[in-house]
């Protein structure tokens, strides 16, 4: 008999605290609804900061190529957007397809590997290597092999996102609650049913954290890869604008990238709030 001694976790979902930075319990509370007064204060502070920067840059005659004032960045964003938009599209194609491949592979590997603790111990160092190696370093090699098209970038994004998804999802799948599995087994659940009805939902909060980190790493890698080579994408725009010392346009692209990053965060925040708020 290989039965384990029945044990019951005394603390409620204490496992959630493993990754404090990305603890999904943050999803449950969220920024919350703000009152009109608070909104007014937030806008006032933003106006003061942006206006202050604008004023300071103009007052001290800071050259445009060092730091353009916010107004000229806003104008460039508005004016150049039709030219930048296609590049945003290219970057999104790389990000979405690379992330999709990396996420699916990462999730499947995490689900499979956690079923075999022995195998997991053997492959753990390699996974750590994949997580810690900046995949950008491989981009020149990938370009050499696959040319300047989408392929090397999508591979780089997948390589950056996949391990992040995998390592977090694996943490989720490892959270076994023997009492909940016993509950399912007492009704005659199969291994597959236990996976889909107990293990997967228990892992979901950590999976979402992995997907969010993976997507943000993917964006980072996509832009980096575009800066290394190839004539399109937002990263390519950054190198082009800076080489032409078009700083307002350069910062307009940076602004678009920050917005993209925030949108990724908000997207997973909302998914987490909807599907994983039970964690908190």
């Amino acid at each position: 008999m290989s039965d384990a001694i029945p044990e019951f976790s005394k603390s409620k979902s204490g496992d959630g605290q493993e990754v404090s930075l990305t603890n999904l319990s943050a999803f449950a509370s969220g920024p919350g609804i703000k009152s009109g007064k608070e909104v007014a204060a937030i806008i006032a502070v933003a106006v003061v900061i942006i206006g202050g920067i604008e004023l300071a840059l103009r007052l001290f005659h800071v050259p445009l190529y060092i730091m353009p004032p916010p107004s000229s960045i806003a104008y460039a964003l508005f004016d150049e957007f039709p030219l930048i938009a296609p590049h945003l599209g290219y970057t999104l194609v790389e990000l979405v397809s690379g992330f999709a491949i990396g996420a699916v592979v990462g999730l499947v590997l995490a689900a499979v590997i956690t079923q075999f603790p022995f195998a997991e111990k053997i492959v753990a160092p390699y996974i750590l290597l994949l997580v810690t190696t900046p995949m950008l370093a491989l981009v020149p090699l990938l370009i050499l092999r696959f040319g300047f098209g989408y392929t090397p970038r999508i591979i780089a994004v997948a390589l950056a996102a996949g391990p992040m998804v995998m390592i977090n999802a694996a943490t989720g799948f490892r959270r076994v609650d023997s009492a909940k599995i016993a509950l399912a087994r007492s009704y005659g659940a199969s291994t597959l049913q236990i996976f889909w009805k107990i293990r997967a939902p228990m892992a979901l909060p950590m999976i979402l954290v992995g997907l969010m980190i993976g997507a943000i790493f993917g964006l980072l890698t996509a832009v980096g890869a575009e800066m290394v080579g190839g004539g399109f994408g937002l990263g390519n725009r950054l190198t082009t604008y800076s080489s032409m010392i078009q700083m307002p346009q350069f910062f307009a692209v940076v602004l678009i990238l920050s917005t993209l990053g925030i949108l990724i965060y908000v997207l997973f925040f909302l998914i987490g709030k909807k599907w994983a708020s039970w964690e908190a």
Binding site: A4, P6, A179, A184, R185, Y187, L204, W275
Partner: protein, 277 residues
């Protein structure tokens, strides 16, 4: 009930022995433990911590195999989880990502059966959880969570209900309330109940028989019959009979630990003690 029925116990435990193989060596949790539970009976199992109560219950449910010995349900040997056996776990054990309705639907999903809506509605009404179906476990009090767990266990109409220290985490008032609820449900369904608890009062209030397990390795040390008629009121808990019975059971359990100074006469009465009504 005729004579033929009484010869086969509802749940028969025969010389159940269980050894856990752990990293720090083998652990004998149950040692030739034998116990019969008759149909429609409520039997409580008490004993010192770590004496194998939960192991015995998990073995009865078919979640654990035995190293040797056997457990029979209606005469048929239990080899795995059985549809006729429902379990109520410690700390409710609801799935936190499902609301109450979905939690109660869970057993039916696993079995691929259609939930018996009328029966579930009746049970929910019985335990006072009407209108809470959309709530998530974290939104419910401990007592409400455990009521939901009881509904979940009874939804499949098991003929045996195994309860593993179900109210251990509740405050004493809620616990008394839950005990009365279990009795009400029993009067309603006559389900055979095996109840594990740390609370001797709870065991006496609920049971027809209280079985005392010895310290590890667990085996049946003594057995007490509780003679009070049902429905029982909380007043019986203040009677001298209950007081005496509580103390005897307490001495059995405590005596297990402080064995050296046990007087001669107490050791002589180590057989089954029965109190006549």
């Amino acid at each position: 009930m005729n004579a033929g029925e009484t010869t086969t116990p509802k749940l028969g435990v025969q010389a159940a022995t269980k050894i856990y193989h752990t990293a720090s060596g083998d652990l004998l949790a149950l040692d030739r433990c034998s116990l019969d539970v008759r149909a429609n009976e409520i039997v409580s199992i008490v004993g010192p911590s770590g004496c194998g109560k939960t192991t015995l219950l998990w073995s009865m449910s078919g979640l654990h195999g035995l190293t040797s010995g056997e457990i029979r349900l209606d005469g048929a040997r239990i080899t795995g989880p059985h549809p006729d056996i429902g379990i109520v776990f410690q700390e409710a054990n609801l799935l936190p990502w499902r609301n109450l309705d979905a939690n109660i639907r869970f057993p039916f999903e696993i079995k691929g059966e259609k939930p018996d809506r009328a029966w579930i509605a009746h049970l929910l009404n019985r335990v006072g959880l009407d209108g809470f179906g959309g709530k998530f476990p974290r939104e419910l009090s401990g007592g409400m969570q455990q009521r939901a767990a009881i509904v979940r266990a009874l939804a499949l109409k098991p003929s045996v209900l195994l309860m593993d220290e179900p109210f251990g985490a509740l405050d004493s008032f809620t616990r008394e309330e839950m005990n009365r609820l279990v009795e009400e449900i029993w009067l309603d369904t006559k389900t055979t109940i095996v109840f594990i608890t740390h609370s001797i009062e709870e065991a006496i209030f609920l049971s027809d028989r209280v079985v005392v397990l010895s310290a590890r390795p667990g085996k049946v040390a003594r057995e007490y019959r509780v003679p009070f008629a049902r429905p029982r009121s909380l007043e019986i808990m203040a009677t001298k009979e209950v007081f005496d019975l509580t103390n005897r059971i307490k001495m059995d359990i405590v005596g297990e630990r402080a064995r050296p100074k046990a007087p001669e006469q107490e050791r002589a009465s180590a057989e089954i003690v029965r109190i006549r009504p």
